[in-house]
């Protein structure tokens, strides 16, 4: 199945990726070829087959709800592009 340029723009928006017009053209082509490749799945009968999400079919292990990590705020802030007063700084969200 092929997708049009509007679809590409919509997907890019959902994925939070800025696309130029040229990018959109290019991705329209490359996404369509991937979707054509995966299309062959539709001809397979999978009635009654349970989806497999974990190859070992393990269930999530739970742990006690207790604090196990020490506070390392400064170490984690050190990788942030912009910080102020011990907080991550982002562009203004609310006017």
């Amino acid at each position: 199945m092929s997708i049009d340029k509007q679809d590409v723009q919509k997907i890019a928006h959902l994925a939070r990726l800025a696309l130029t017009e040229t990018d959109a053209d290019q991705y329209q082509h490359s996404l369509s070829s991937v979707l054509a490749l995966v299309e062959q799945m539709q001809s397979v009968n999978t009635d009654g087959v349970e989806p497999l999400s974990n190859p070992l079919e393990m269930t999530q292990r739970l742990r006690e709800d207790i604090v196990t990590e020490e506070n390392r705020r400064d170490a984690f802030l050190a990788n942030a592009p912009q910080t102020e007063a011990g907080l991550f700084l982002v562009p203004k969200v609310i006017d």
Binding site: I11, A18, D23, Y27, V34, L37, M41, L52, N54, L56
Partner: protein, 486 residues
């Protein structure tokens, strides 16, 4: 010295024939001299290496340590290393210095190994040629015009060229086995959950698995011994004790039942590669194994299933790169949305953006059932094929890839053609079973890897099989010309 096994080097270190500092300097000098031709390292951590080597020498002096103590290793630049740049091959993480250590690198460090540096890779492990790295393509030591394979191409090239004794890799759809095959080294993708994913930068969480890469199966066993085992920090870690991977290397192969899936020898397989694989199978027969043809009927479907599941999981995992807490941020964002979209468009390369978009589409409203759920149902069919086959035979053998290493740039214009190259490796990750690439010969001067696939948690058996083969062949001991005499 650079061509010697871990066992031999460990003995020399213990006998004080050489110190770890001397050995480390030897490898650092080789990297400085040869890596400009290969580009296999993104970061060389000389200072950290020499400090660790000095500590290893002190430990050896007091008669302590393991077989890895003082041995120079390299890590794929996808394992977080505290205080050492970790880029994942991406511009997005060009300045990321992790505040913590991955479980894998931490365990290898605790075993006393010396970290030489971080190896090049396809960006976020997405690629089969190592051409998708922001830090430039890696070249194959056997022929500098050829790709080393990917995504663990830097680790494979570094080992083949004698720039590290052993290295870590990760395998989501073949990323340990295919570069091992292309570069003529040995690599093991363990059972899903056998090696901790904590501190491994995630690509597709239900498929990703770290593993050892080295010249020989025995060296892989040494690294696996340190890496494997339960880790409470990884929620999908297998809660089951690790085996002793060295104990059974010498077990005889008499009576071993080998299955050859007919789908691995059909159309698309290079006839010279097929010849090498069949010669290797003959060698196993000489060692007492029996061979029968089997079928994995849904093999072809592993490509569409993988190229839905992996991008879907990637689109979710890579949403954490938002320009807020770490990684690249665009200049002068005008608002929050502008910051997200431009930071991500600037930070991610084309292949990564494409896979994020494929995954976003597959998971979006109205398409989830037709793509993601359908792919997971097919995933079960693929797993059942292996389960059934492994009731009849002990191991499955076939090629790792349909061809030997291809030329740099020869497939970049048609990524879907490159996806088709993964046909023999993807299904193993979908099923979650372990598999190895073992050097089995050459076709037109380029290495060919034999793939050995086994049952869940049969890593020790696979290493035993590969080791026995390597006791009777010397393909794994071949050295590319560029690595000699340096």
């Amino acid at each position: 010295m650079f061509e010697q096994s871990i066992s031999t080097l460990a003995q020399k270190l213990r006998n004080k024939d050489i110190s770890s500092v001397e050995l480390t300097r030897l490898f650092l000098a080789r990297i400085a001299k040869l890596d400009p031709q290969l580009n296999s390292f993104i970061t060389v951590s000389e200072q950290r290496a020499l400090e660790q080597a000095a500590a290893a020498d002190a430990l050896l002096q007091s008669g302590k340590g393991t077989s890895l103590t003082g041995i120079p290793v390299a890590h794929k630049d996808l394992f977080c290393t505290e205080g050492t740049l970790t880029t994942c091959g991406s511009k997005m993480l060009h300045n990321f210095v992790p505040p913590y250590e991955s479980t894998v690198t931490s365990r290898i460090q605790q075993a006393g190994a010396v970290m030489l540096g971080k190896t090049n890779m396809d960006e976020f492990a997405m690629g089969s040629s190592n051409e998708n790295s922001f830090y430039g393509a890696v070249r194959n030591p056997w022929n500098l015009d050829m790709v080393p394979g990917g995504s663990s191409g830097g680790s494979a090239a570094a080992i083949a060229a004698g720039l590290a004794v052993t290295a870590t890799g990760t395998d989501t759809g073949g990323s340990i086995r295919q570069p091992a095959s292309f570069c003529g080294i040995t690599g093991l993708k363990p059972t899903y959950g056998r090696v901790s994913r904590f501190g491994m930068i995630a690509y597709a969480s239900s498929l990703d698995q770290g593993g050892p890469m080295a010249k020989s199966a025995e060296d892989c066993a040494h690294l696996m011994q340190a890496m494997a085992g339960f880790d409470e920090k990884d929620s999908t870690s297998a809660d089951k004790p690790a085996d002793d991977y060295l104990a059974n290397l010498n077990a005889p192969l008499t009576g071993l039942k080998i299955g050859l899936p007919k789908e691995y020898f059909g159309e698309g397989l290079d006839s010279k590669v097929a010849d090498v694989i069949m010669a290797a199978v003959k060698e196993f027969e000489k060692l007492g194994a029996t061979v029968k043809e089997i079928s994995l009927p849904n093999l072809q479907l592993s490509i569409p299933s993988y190229y839905v599941i992996a991008p879907s999981e990637a689109s979710s995992n890579l949403s954490r790169f938002d320009g807020v807490r770490f990684g690249h941020r665009c200049d002068d964002p005008k608002d929050l949305l502008d910051m997200y979209t431009r930071s991500r468009a600037e930070g991610f390369g084309t292949e990564v953006q494409k896979r994020i978009m494929v995954g976003t589409y597959a998971l979006s409203e109205g398409y989830y059932d037709a793509y993601y759920l359908k792919a997971q149902k097919i995933r079960r069919l693929i797993k059942e094929d292996f389960v059934k086959a492994l009731e009849e035979v002990d191991v499955i053998m076939g090629p790792v890839a349909p061809t030997t290493a291809f030329g740099l740039g020869s497939k970049t214009s048609d990524p879907v053609a490159m996806y088709l190259e993964d046909i023999y490796t993807l299904s193993v990750n979908l099923a979650g079973i372990p598999a190895m690439s073992v050097p089995a010969g050459f076709a037109d001067g380029m290495p060919v890897g034999l793939q050995v696939m086994g049952n869940y948690f049969a890593e020790a058996k696979l290493l035993n099989i590969a080791h026995q083969y390597q006791q009777h062949t010397d393909w794994h001991l071949q050295t590319p010309t560029m690595a000699k005499g340096a």
